[in-house]
Symmetry: C2
Subunit: 171 residues, 2 copies
C-alpha cells in the first residue's frame, strides 16, 4: 500500500490521488482500503509518518556540540525540503487521534536521546531531552510550518549554541 502511494506520488505529484487509483496500483479493492483507513487523508498520513521515520541513528562526530549541530542542520534541511513539508502536512492532516503527529515527535525524541546518551557516556555535561525539543526542534518546526522565509542551516546551529551555552544547568 505504502509502495503504491509512493509510486503514484512520484509519478503525478500528490494533488490528485484517489483511493480507487491507489487500490488499483496495489492490486486490492477500494473497499479493502476503506476498511483499513477511513479516508484518503488518513491513508496519506500513515504513509507520511512512515517516510518521516529516520533511516539511521545520528552520526557520531566525537562531541556533543558537533553531533547536535550536524543533526539539527540535517533535520532542518530534510523537514524543510518540499517532500519533507508535504509529509509533515499529510501527517498532521489525516490524524484524528493525534497518534501520527505524536509519532513524528517521538522520532525526534529518540534521535536526540541517542545523541545525549552518547555524550553522557563520553563524560560530557548534557542538557535534558526536552530542552533540546523545546529550544531546537520546536523553533525549527515552527518556522517550517509558519515562517518559511526564515530558514537556513545556520539557524539550526545557532539554536544548538543557545541550548549549550545559555540553557544548560550548571554541572
Amino acid at each position: 500500500m505504502h509502495a503504491a502511494v509512493r509510486e503514484l506520488q512520484a509519478e503525478q505529484g500528490r494533488g490528485d490521488l484517489t483511493i480507487p487509483q491507489i487500490a488499483a496500483r496495489a492490486g486490492v479493492t477500494p473497499s479493502t482500503l476503506y476498511r483499513r483507513w477511513g479516508d484518503l487523508q488518513e491513508l496519506l498520513s500513515d504513509v507520511a509518518v512512515e517516510r518521516l521515520r529516520p533511516e539511521a541513528p545520528p552520526a557520531d562526530h566525537g562531541n556533543l556540540r558537533a553531533d547536535l549541530e550536524h543533526w539539527a542542520a540535517a533535520f532542518l534541511e530534510e523537514m524543510s525540503s518540499p517532500p519533507g513539508r508535504s509529509y509533515i502536512r499529510d501527517a498532521l492532516a489525516g490524524d484524528p487521534d493525534g497518534s501520527n503527529s505524536g509519532q513524528c515527535s517521538a522520532y525526534a525524541v529518540d534521535q536526540v536521546d541517542t545523541i545525549l546518551s552518547r555524550a553522557a557516556e563520553r563524560g560530557e555535561h548534557v542538557p535534558d531531552t526536552d530542552t533540546v525539543m523545546d529550544h531546537v526542534v520546536a523553533p525549527v518546526m515552527y518556522r517550517i510550518l509558519f515562517r518559511p522565509g526564515l530558514l537556513d542551516p545556520q539557524y539550526a546551529r545557532d539554536l544548538v549554541a543557545t541550548v549549550l551555552y545559555r540553557l544548560m544547568p550548571l554541572p
Copy 2:
C-alpha cells in the same frame, strides 16, 4: 461565507461539511465557491485563519514579565482548546502557498511586538521579537501539534521566564 461555515460547524461538527451545503446555507451557487476557492480545504483554511485573528491587543499588566506571562498562558489555552486545534489544522491543511500559516505567525508577531514596544516605552529592558517567537510561541505550538500530552499554562510561564532570565542580551 465565513458565517455559513461557522454555523454549519457549530451545528454538525467539522467532519462532514461539503461545498454544496455551505453554498446552500450562504445562498449562493456551489460554482461561486469553486471559483473563489479551489476546494473545501482551502475554504476551511481561510475561515480558520479569520477565527485565529486576535480580538484585542494583549492586556497591560504594568510590566513586561506579567504581560508576557498572561499573554503566553492565554495563547496556550486558546490554541490548545479543541476549536483552537481544529483551526490550526484547518489553516495548515488548505494552504497551498503558505499564506494562511504565515498569517497565523504574523498575528503572534503583532501581539508580541505590542507587548515589547509597550515595555520599552516604560523603560524596561526587552528581548527581541524573534527570541520570544522562537522560545515561547514555537515550543507552545510544537507541543500543541506534536506532543499534546505535555501542555499546561505553567509551561507557557516557564518559557517566558527562560527568555527573560536566560536568553536576554545584557542591557
